[in-house]
Amino acid sequence: MDWAFSRHPLENLLVLSAALFALGIFTIITRRNAVSVLMGVELVLNAANVNFVAFSQYVPGAGIHGGMFSIFVILLAAAEAAVALAIIIGIYQNFGRVDVDKAELMKE
C-alpha cells in the first residue's frame, strides 16, 4: 500500500499527531519539574492542533472551522503559559524549587 504523504495526507498527519500526543503525555507523567510538565502540555496542544488543521484541510467540505479552532487553541495556550509561568514563580518563591511532587501544601 502507498503511504506517501501526497496520497494520504490525512492519515500521515493523524499518525504524526498521535505520536506527538503520546510524547506529550509521557513528558507530563514522568517529569518532576513543573516547567517540563508545561512543555509536555504544549506538545499535547500542538498534537491537537495538527489534528484540527488536518481535518479542516483534507476532509472535503469541512470549511475553515478546524483552522479557526486551532487559532483559538493557540491563543488559549498563550494565556495558559502566562498563568503557568506566574504559578511556577509562586511555587519557586514558596518552596525554593519547582518540583511538582514537593508542592503538596494542600495535602496537609
Partner: protein
C-alpha cells in the same frame, strides 16, 4: 510520481522526523534548557507541517505566538527558577516501565482505532448518481460522477458543492470494466463575450479497481476564474461514448483568494465574533491574573 510530489513527500518526512525527534528530546533530555530548545524544533516543524497542509495563516500564528510568545515564556520560567550558574540544570524525570507502556499503548490505540479503524470521508458525495455511459455495441456502463477539491486547499462553496482552482473529477462505475476502457474528462468555460468554449480535455485515465467497482479520476489545476461545465466520457480503442455532463459551477478568482487568511478574517468578523471577543477578554484576565500571582507579596 511527479518530481514535485516526491519533493513534497520528502519535505514532509524531514519535517515530521524533526518534530518527532524534538518531541523525544523534550521528553527525555537530561538538561532542561536542551528540552526547551528541542521544543523550539517541534514548534517550527509543526509550523512546517501546517505550511505543507496549505494553512498559511496558522503557520504565521504558530510562529508568532508559539515560538515568539509561549516558548519565550517557558525559557523565562526556566531562567527564573534555576540558578543559571549551576553547571547541571537538573531536569528530573522518573520514567518507569509503566509510563512507557502507557504512552506506547496510547499511541497504538489512537493509530489503530481512529486513524486506520475508521475511513475518513475523503471525497464529496457524487454530484450525479447512476449515469449511463453508452459505448457502441455494449451494455451501458452505469457510474457515479463526483467532483471535489483535490489538493486540500479549503474550497469555496457554490450551490452546495465545494470547488476550488484545483478540481478533481472522478468516475466510479458500479461494476468492473474492461481493461482497455479509459475515462476522459473535459471542461468548457463561458467565454467573455458569451457562449461556451471547450478547453483541451484530459488524457484518458485508466480505471483502477476499488472493492468491486472501478474508479478513474483526473485533476485540473490552476483554473482561472469563470463559469465552468465539467464532463466525462468513456473511450475504448477508437470507440467513444457521448460526453456526460457533471455539473456547472462558478470558480472564484483564486489568484486573489489564495490561502486561508481572507476566509479566516471573514469568519472572525462573522460567525466567530462572540468567541473572538470572549477570548480577548480571557487573555486580558489571564495576563492581569498572572501579573497578580507573580508579584512580590507586600507584607504589612
Amino acid at each position: 510520481m511527479a518530481t514535485s510530489e516526491i519533493l513534497i513527500n520528502l519535505v514532509y518526512y524531514v519535517v515530521a522526523a524533526a518534530a518527532l525527534g524534538g518531541g523525544v528530546a523534550v521528553a527525555v533530555s537530561k538538561n532542561i534548557v536542551r528540552s526547551a530548545f528541542a521544543l523550539l524544533t517541534v514548534l517550527f516543524s509543526v509550523a512546517g507541517v501546517y505550511a505543507l497542509a496549505r494553512a498559511d495563516f496558522i503557520v504565521a500564528a504558530q510562529i508568532l505566538i508559539y515560538v515568539g510568545g509561549i516558548l519565550v515564556l517557558i525559557i523565562f520560567a526556566i531562567m527564573l527558577t534555576h540558578k543559571i550558574t549551576d553547571v547541571k540544570l537538573s531536569n528530573e524525570s522518573s520514567p518507569g516501565p509503566v509510563s512507557v507502556t502507557a504512552c506506547l499503548s496510547v499511541f497504538v490505540l489512537i493509530v489503530t482505532a481512529f486513524v486506520y479503524g475508521y475511513s475518513w470521508k475523503r471525497e464529496a458525495a457524487p454530484v450525479r448518481g447512476s449515469v449511463d455511459f453508452a459505448l457502441e455495441g455494449r451494455p451501458p456502463v452505469r457510474a457515479d460522477l463526483s467532483m471535489w477539491q483535490g489538493g486540500g486547499l479549503t474550497g469555496v462553496e457554490f450551490d452546495g458543492k465545494v470547488l476550488d482552482g484545483f478540481v478533481r473529477l472522478k468516475v466510479k462505475t458500479s461494476s468492473s470494466v474492461k481493461e482497455t476502457v479509459r475515462a476522459q474528462f473535459g471542461l468548457s468555460r463561458v467565454k467573455k463575450g458569451g457562449g461556451w468554449e471547450d478547453l483541451p480535455p484530459s488524457k484518458p485515465a485508466p480505471f483502477a479497481t476499488e472493492g468491486g467497482a472501478a474508479v478513474a479520476w483526473t485533476e485540473f489545476e490552476r483554473l482561472e476564474e469563470g463559469k465552468y461545465e465539467w464532463k466525462a466520457r468513456l473511450v475504448d480503442e477508437g470507440v467513444e461514448s457521448p460526453w456526460v455532463e457533471f455539473a456547472q459551477g462558478q470558480l472564484p478568482d483564486f489568484n486573489s483568494e489564495k490561502g486561508l487568511t481572507k476566509a479566516i478574517g471573514r469568519a472572525f468578523m462573522g460567525p466567530y465574533l462572540l468567541a473572538f471577543e470572549v477570548v480577548s477578554v480571557l487573555l486580558l484576565a489571564a495576563l492581569v491574573g498572572a501579573a497578580f500571582l507573580a508579584r512580590k507579596e507586600v507584607r504589612e
